[in-house]
Symmetry: C2
Subunit: 318 residues, 2 copies
C-alpha cells in the first residue's frame, strides 16, 4: 500500500496513502535503516527538514524496502449508510458525482460502475441491480448529519434523472454491497472464462471527469474490447478492467493501443496516467510524458543517489 | 508558505501546506525549471513516480526556488460560527481539546491562549476576555451541522469546567475575534515595549499535549521569562512567543536554554521540534536529534545531488 501510494473507495473522504502515512521504517540499498520522520515519531504536522516520508510513499521499492509504517487513524463514524443509484446515462452519473463534490457534501465513498461492470457484478455476486450506469454511495457522520447528506445528495441525483436510492442501512447489507464492489476484478474476469485481466487507471481534475469517461466508453465500443469501468470517481479516478484472450495477438495489441490512448487522454486533460496503480514497467514512457524531462532527470538523480548500484527493484518507474 | 511547510489556525480541519500543495514550479540550482507534478497538472491523487512536490514543500529554499504553486481549494461553508471559552486551568482547556478531537468533531479551528496571551490580546485589541486559559473555537458546516458540533463541544467544555461560550455569530464579530488571535505576535511584543520577539513552536501527538503544555508553563514561570503561549492545539502544536531584552545577556541565554528544553521536551514525547516554523539556522542540531543520523545523511545526499554547489539558501536546515 505505502510503496505504491495506493488508495481505494474511502480515499475521497479520508485520503490516500500519501495523506495517511506519517512515518516509515525503510531499509536502504546499503543496509542502513532509515526512519523517515525519526524513530518512533508521530504527530499531525511538522516542518522539520525534507519530507522523506512522502519521498518513499509511492517509490515502488526503487529507493528502499519499507519494513514498518505508521498510519493516521480515524474513528468509526457514529452513523453509516450506503445507497445504490442507477442513471439513464454515463453522463448523468458522472455529472452527479461532480455536483455532489462541488456542493461540498463530505461523502465517504462514491463509486461509479458502468453498465458492463454492473452486469458483471450482478452475475458474479447473485445481485439484481439494473444494468445501467450506477453509483454506489456511502455516507459517514452523525445520525442527523448523514440524514442531511443523503437528502442533499438525492436532490442532486434526481435532478440528473437518477433512480430512487436502494438502501443498505445495516452492517450486513452494507457489507454485501461493498463486497460486490471489491469483487469487481473477479466479476470482470468471469465475463469471459479462460481470459486474463489487465487493469489500468487514470485520474483527472474532477471537472474533466464526464468528458473522459464518455470518450473512453465510446473508445471501448469502437475497439470492440471488454473493459468494464469501475471508478473512484469522487477523486476523478477510474479503472478499466481489460479482459482479454492473451493468445489473440490482435486483441492484445488493441488493448495496448486502447490503454495508451486512455492514458494520453488523461494527460491531455491535465490528469495523471495513474491515480493509484503506479508506473511499474508498463507506464515508464507515459511517466516521461506526464512529468517532463526535468522531472524525470530529478527522479533519476534521486534514484542514483539513494541506490547507486541500482539494486532496489531495478528497471521499475524510471 | 510552501517553502516552509507553513500552516495556521485552519490546519486542524483543512491541513497544512504539505496537504494542500498539488504542484510547484521550481527553479533548480542550475537554472532549469522543474514542474514537480508535470506542467499544468492538477488532480486529487496520483501514483506516478516520486512525490517531488512534497520534497520541495518545506525545503526552505535549500533545494530550489519556488516560483509558482498550485493549491487545493475549499468551498466557503454554508454556516460558520465562532466561540470563546475560558477555563479554570491550562489542563482543563487542553484536556477539552483532546476530547473534542477524539470525539471526531470536525472542528475548523481550535486555538489555545494561556492567561498571559489573553491578557496581552485584551490590552492590544481593547477586548475584555477573562484573563484565564482560553480556547478560541470555530465551527464550519451546514446550519444544522454547526448546531450539532456546537452542542457536542459545549458538553465537553462544560464537563471540564469551561465557561459558557461567548459567541461571534456574524462576519464582523468573527473577524474581530480572529484578528485578535492573528495579532498575537504584536500583542505579545506590546507587553514589554522596547523588547524584541523570538517565536518558537513544537508539535506532539495530541494525547501528549496536556503534559507538555503544563510543563512548559511551569518552566516559563521558573525561568522568569515572558513567553505567552498561543497554540494550534488541535494539531498538538503550540507557540511560545518569547519577549526579551536582547541587551540583557543573561535573559538571552535563559531564553535559549528554555527554547532548547521545550524542543527536547517535545522530542522526548515522540514529537517534532517544529510544527510549522521550520529549521532555519536555529534548530539544525535539534533536527539531527529528531530525525537521526541516517535521516540527516539522506537529506544531505539529496541536497548535494540537487544543489552540488551549495548555492540555494546555503547553511540552512542541514
Amino acid at each position: 500500500m505505502a510503496a505504491t501510494s495506493a488508495s481505494g473507495t474511502n480515499a475521497v473522504r479520508y485520503g490516500t496513502m500519501r495523506d495517511n502515512v506519517i512515518n516509515l521504517e525503510v531499509v536502504l540499498s546499503d543496509g542502513r535503516i532509515l526512519n523517515t520522520a525519526g524513530k518512533d515519531r508521530n504527530f499531525r504536522k511538522t516542518s522539520a527538514g525534507y519530507n522523506l516520508t512522502s519521498l518513499f510513499v509511492g517509490s515502488e521499492g526503487t529507493l528502499g524496502i519499507i519494513t514498518k509504517t505508521s498510519l493516521r487513524l480515524y474513528g468509526v463514524p457514529e452513523a453509516m449508510m450506503s445507497a445504490v443509484c442507477a442513471f439513464p446515462s454515463v453522463q448523468a452519473a458522472v455529472d452527479s458525482t461532480v455536483q455532489i463534490l462541488q456542493c461540498g457534501i463530505p461523502i465517504a465513498r462514491i463509486e461509479f460502475l458502468d453498465d458492463v461492470m454492473v452486469d458483471a457484478c450482478n452475475k458474479y455476486n447473485g445481485l439484481s441491480y439494473h444494468t445501467l450506469p450506477t453509483l454506489f454511495l456511502e455516507f459517514h457522520g452523525t445520525e442527523s448529519g448523514v440524514r442531511e447528506q443523503v437528502q442533499q445528495t438525492e436532490e442532486i441525483t434526481q435532478l440528473n434523472g437518477g433512480s430512487d436510492f436502494t438502501w443498505a442501512r445495516d452492517q450486513e447489507e452494507r457489507s454485501k454491497l461493498w463486497t460486490a464492489r471489491h469483487n469487481a476484478w473477479y466479476a470482470a474476469l468471469a465475463l469471459r472464462p479462460g481470459c486474463r485481466g489487465y487493469a489500468t487507471d487514470v485520474c483527472v481534475p474532477i471537472s474533466k471527469l464526464p468528458e473522459i469517461v464518455m470518450k473512453t466508453k465510446k473508445d471501448l465500443l469502437e475497439s470492440e474490447l471488454t473493459g468494464p469501468i469501475a471508478g473512484h470517481v469522487g477523486d476523478g479516478n477510474f479503472h478499466c478492467i481489460m479482459v482479454l484472450n492473451v493468445d489473440d495477438k490482435d486483441e492484445v495489441s488493441r488493448v495496448k493501443a486502447f490503454t495508451d490512448r486512455l492514458a494520453r487522454r488523461a494527460l491531455a486533460l491535465n490528469g495523471t496516467c495513474t491515480g493509484e496503480h503506479g508506473i511499474g514497467l508498463g507506464k515508464r514512457s507515459l511517466l516521461v510524458e506526464e512529468i517532463g524531462e526535468v522531472g524525470i532527470a530529478t527522479m533519476k538523480q534521486i534514484k542514483a543517489t539513494l541506490d547507486p548500484q541500482n539494486i532496489m527493484n531495478p528497471g521499475k518507474v524510471i
